[in-house]
Subunit: 673 residues, 2 copies
């Protein structure tokens, strides 16, 4: 395959993006740190988060070394090489994002003294670092590997080695998501169960021994975890599109040549430009001081979505001379936005009211209503995903589906910025509480936090939506590679695979949920112990031992993250060797259906319970201390691990399993045929 | 198609089975009614249940008339005819079973004075009536329609009109399940939330205004609802097998002729004989007085399973001269038994302990652990279903899969007997409490009830397992009829259908869960009102107004059952007309995967929470009144509508949608092609 010199624009764009990332980081770090007490708590969080991540990466590195050796033995050394780069860039993106986020929280608290606008500006700036880091590394990585292997001609088809990169990103992501997810929710649940329910002290009270662990958790879960999660979706989707673009000849009847491969990269570049424009526009609008945080975040999404769509339209007309690319990419982007709006409705609209109201008859009815809302909320998004898939397919066959995924993820720069903004605002509020700032400061950070909750729900919906397109593209690429003639669901092997695959996400979810339960139980015991044994803690005269809770959360997360990760990696091998390639294809299909359903169900049920509690705490249905409030605390606690541990893991699980299946086709074919 | 005279053996067997049903009913009714106070409460329950069923059937009849008219207009008059017979026989089986069950409860309470053996004998006798009624009507109905249309030559292919019978049975079942499910759980939750939690009176206390409604609910839900549920599984599975048996030529390469059609009926007949033998054996063993209730029920299953397997083996050797029938049927039967054992483990083994223990940190952790156990418990059964499907397919192609379903359901006579035994024992305990019998009586009824809980879980697992085989057979028959060339999951239409179908069971579940929540809320308000306004009620001097709670539950169930039923019937039409036949096929596949997963998850999570509460009430983890106990009451209440309303509806939903799709193929083809 020859490469034209225009292709070098992508690694250059990636490098420029990284420069911009460092610029944004410097801007953020130039803000004032504030007084020592703020700096102290911020440093606690920084240190706890960095320590956890380093230990998590060490565990991951050990497993990765074995897996890399396995890749060399079963496939080739280049796959190992790209695998390590994929995992490494994912770690890098998450680490950069989290380092800045944990240094922005205290700065945001301090900036709140100068008003909402200033505080928002700082928090948003901190978020842009993760967003830009992820997309820059993504474009740089994918394009460099493609160019390197095309020019060096080390392998017959340079695209095959990209699957190694894809596995690497998904591999790192599942570790980050499960590890971070167990940590954050064990700490959160543990802190709340004793602090709020038993001792009766407010959220983020410095007397709570688990409060630092809880704030660390927000960062390792929602910044590093979410960053790795969406990074792998970004990388997987574009690699699937590249591979399908190369074979677009056989699919759509017209040969695209190199354009079929470069088009997904061009769309990502358009999205990168759109994201940068949106960031600049949001910052400019922030400085006017006339627009509120919710509106600013929504505007950011609209601006980046609009400019990206325009860019894709121009690409379709002038670069490709074919509007199908526009139709396909926009079907994905529009579906993502609509699903985001639906998520917004179910997690902060009328259904939340129904949940809160049912709390008046106690926790049981509140939970039943929440489960019902969660289930209902998953049905429309799946319908829309189905319809957008058909639209993209009609526009341009299976390549169209891959492009719709790329279109959806192209605006990741801004969605991830908004996502990282959330825990920064949350932490800023926590530090305000811990350092006993004036209530007016706390009101500002609460306002920032509330804006972040909505956008976090939208960003999660984006990640899930992209999964469907990416996984289906990978599944198609898999079946082309295995030359499976038909994946007919009337074939018992395919159907058996569908059933087994349909159960698989639940198996992994049950493991992560149990891990949270176990670790939270240990933290509950430790917090109870400290309140009992440390004289003067309850009165606020003696500080608690924060480190013990951090250690328990770290240990619990690290011990229990390996098993689910290994099961996810091993599943495709077990399936193929025992039941054959058709069963694995069915398994991937079942995984997509169940995984997406459970991911949306868990995310939305958890989000709705969370907001029902907030609504009651704001005074509805009896307000704080009422029966409904107690019920809503139970609901929120049940929802926490669903929405922040088990649910988000499923995107990655679905893509990891599909990426592993695709990458190991050469090995499978040796054994099965 | 010609019919040999041997085929008349099936309607005759069905009639003989009905005679046996009446004999069992007379034996049960010959037991002593007992003193007036027992008769009074039993009569309350009889009347409440009969009134509800009559009103439910009236609502169903109205919808059925419209649907029947639609059948005449769109298909033909014969389909209407078989549809009405299918719905009518389902109603008849449920009504007979429930009439006897509500008259057996008080007799069981009274028999408990003479010891455990006598009480078990009465309760088991009452259960046999539902079991025998369902299988006799099933064999009679399916075989008579087949013979009638074969002999009269009114339609080119007599098997097509059987799909009308199949829809009729599923149609009646979804009404019975949803109506009964909303009624029973709204009454149960409503009774418990005020009675046990707020007022602090024990379960089944006569002062609780909702206590009669609660006991009525057990009958309309677990007797009439479960009877209709398994009746439709029985009918659907055998009809799918008949249809696939007729086309077995094209599938397996060898023509079976009439034998391919009659074989499923022969297997059912073997199962009927096995069930009767097992009933006789259990009764004989009961009279020895040496075997406990749990063991008697398990022995019943083993005896009927063993004799049926033997019968199928003899059929395969002597009638067919082909062992493949034996392999296929036994793969289903064995899978059903293994799944039953797994269910038993997850709902009464070590996982229940883990749930109970996690209650020590409060309701939230108990709920999280229960959700995790429920998810985990669904994965092994789906794996086993997948493997048994592959085994049956390897044995005899898609016909083998249909036969595996028939094999599984052949022993319905005994499983349904065990299932109806459960609410009879439960009610007997309720009447003992309401009439303030001696604690020794209550201990006996508790013992009977505990045995029923385990077998109820096993029977539910059976019903779910059969669904997979039946629905897949119907799906295959559908795609043969529509002549869809391929149902490849790489086709965006099939994949979109999979996604939409994967979300559909959750939509229906969310509707039924909300209906339970709403109706329970009304009952809670009414019970609170009666305790407040009726002077002397709390002291037991003045009786409550039972009728008001019965009316609320009846009204709530009837008003809210129509919408989910209509959605289920309408879905296939919407899918085909908007997205085409391939999308509908994918939809059916997604429905099977999600529906079975959710059905097992909900049933087992609910069962495990129920038993965790019982374990704590028996003294574990602090016993009654402890924090763990309060947590377990919340868990049990959340689990109730999952396991008895939303979960069981899904089997029927999956089969109803598949049956409707198959029956309306002629209409679809007119519109789509």
């Amino acid at each position: 395959m020859s490469v034209s010199s225009i292709a070098f624009v992508f690694p250059i764009a990636g490098l420029l993006g990284l420069l911009l990332t460092f610029y944004f980081a410097r801007v953020t770090m130039s803000k004032e740190v504030g007084p020592p007490e703020i700096a102290k708590f911020s440093a606690f969080i920084q240190e706890g988060a960095a320590t956890f991540l380093r230990r998590e990466y060490r565990v991951m590195a050990i497993v990765a070394v074995f897996f890399a050796a396995f890749l060399v033995v079963t496939l080739n050394v280049y796959m190992m090489f790209t695998f390590l780069i994929g995992a490494g860039t994912s770690v890098l993106a998450g680490y950069i994002g989290m380092t800045i986020a944990t240094r922005t929280n205290g700065r945001t608290t301090f900036a709140a003294r100068n008003g909402l606008t200033h505080a928002f500006d700082v928090a948003f700036s901190g978020g842009t670092v993760l967003g830009m880091a992820a997309i820059s590394l993504g474009i740089l990585g994918v394009s460099s590997i493609y160019l390197f292997f095309s020019l060096m001609k080390l392998v017959p088809n340079p695209l095959t080695v990209l699957t190694g990169y894809s596995i690497g990103a998904s591999f790192a992501a599942i570790f980050a998501r499960i590890g971070g997810g167990i940590y954050t929710k064990a700490a959160d649940v543990g802190a709340d169960l004793v602090g709020k329910v038993e001792v009766g002290i407010p959220e983020d009270d410095p007397r709570n021994p688990a409060v630092i662990a809880d704030n660390v958790g927000d960062n390792v879960g929602d910044v590093a975890g979410m960053g790795a999660d969406t990074y792998q979706a970004y990388v997987d989707t574009s690699i699937a599109a590249l591979i399908l673009g190369a074979s677009a000849t056989s699919i759509s009847g017209t040969s695209l040549g190199e354009k079929g491969i470069l088009l997904p990269l061009w769309i990502l570049l358009a999205g990168m430009i759109g994201s940068v424009l949106a960031i600049v526009a949001v910052k400019a609008l922030t400085h006017t001081g006339k627009v509120g945080p919710e509106m600013l975040l929504r505007l950011g999404m609209v601006i980046s979505g609009g400019t990206t769509l325009l860019g894709v339209l121009l690409l379709a007309i002038f670069y490709l001379g074919d509007l199908r690319a526009f139709y396909a990419a926009s079907s994905g982007l529009i579906a993502g936005v609509v699903i985001g709006l639906i998520t917004d409705y179910f997690t902060s609209g009328r259904p939340v009211d129904a949940i809160a109201r049912s709390g008046e008859s106690g926790a049981a009815t509140l939970l039943i209503t929440g489960l019902a809302v969660g289930m209902q909320s998953a049905t429309l998004p799946m319908l829309i995903l189905g319809l957008s898939m058909i639209a993209a397919f009609r526009a341009w066959g299976i390549y169209g589906i891959a492009l719709s995924g790329v279109g959806l993820l192209s605006i990741l720069g801004i969605t991830l910025t908004m996502d990282a903004y959330g825990p920064i605002a949350d932490n800023a509020g926590g530090i305000a509480q811990m350092t006993r700032q004036h209530p007016s400061i706390r009101r500002i950070t609460d306002r920032l936090d509330a804006a972040g909750n909505t956008t976090a729900a939208i960003a999660k919906a984006f990640a899930v939506s992209a999964t469907a397109a990416a996984a289906l593209s990978l599944l198609t690429a898999y079946s082309e590679a295995t030359k499976v003639r038909s994946l007919d669901i009337r074939d018992a092997r395919v159907m058996a695979g569908l059933l087994i695959g349909g159960a698989f996400p639940a198996l992994v979810s049950s493991m992560t949920l149990k891990a949270v339960g176990r670790t939270a139980g240990l933290i509950v015991a430790e917090v109870r112990r400290q309140f009992k044994e440390i004289v003067g803690l309850r009165e606020g005269k003696v500080p608690p031992n924060y480190q013990r809770c951090i250690d328990i959360a770290t240990k619990g997360a690290l011990e229990q993250l390996v098993a689910p990760c290994l099961i996810a990696v091993a599943a495709p091998f077990v399936l193929v060797l025992s039941l054959g390639c058709e069963a694995l294809a069915g398994f991937l299909g079942g995984n997509i259906v169940s995984g997406i359903f459970l991911a949306i169900f868990m995310a939305n049920a958890g989000g709705a319970w969370d907001n029902a509690k907030k609504r009651i705490e704001a005074g509805a249905y009896g307000g704080k201390g009422s029966l409904a409030h107690l019920a809503s605390v139970v609901g929120d606690t049940v929802g926490d691990p669903l929405k922040d541990t088990a649910g988000p893991t499923l995107n990655i699980l679905v893509e990891l399993v599909a990426a592993v299946s695709l990458a190991f086709v050469p090995l499978f074919l040796r054994f099965v045929h």
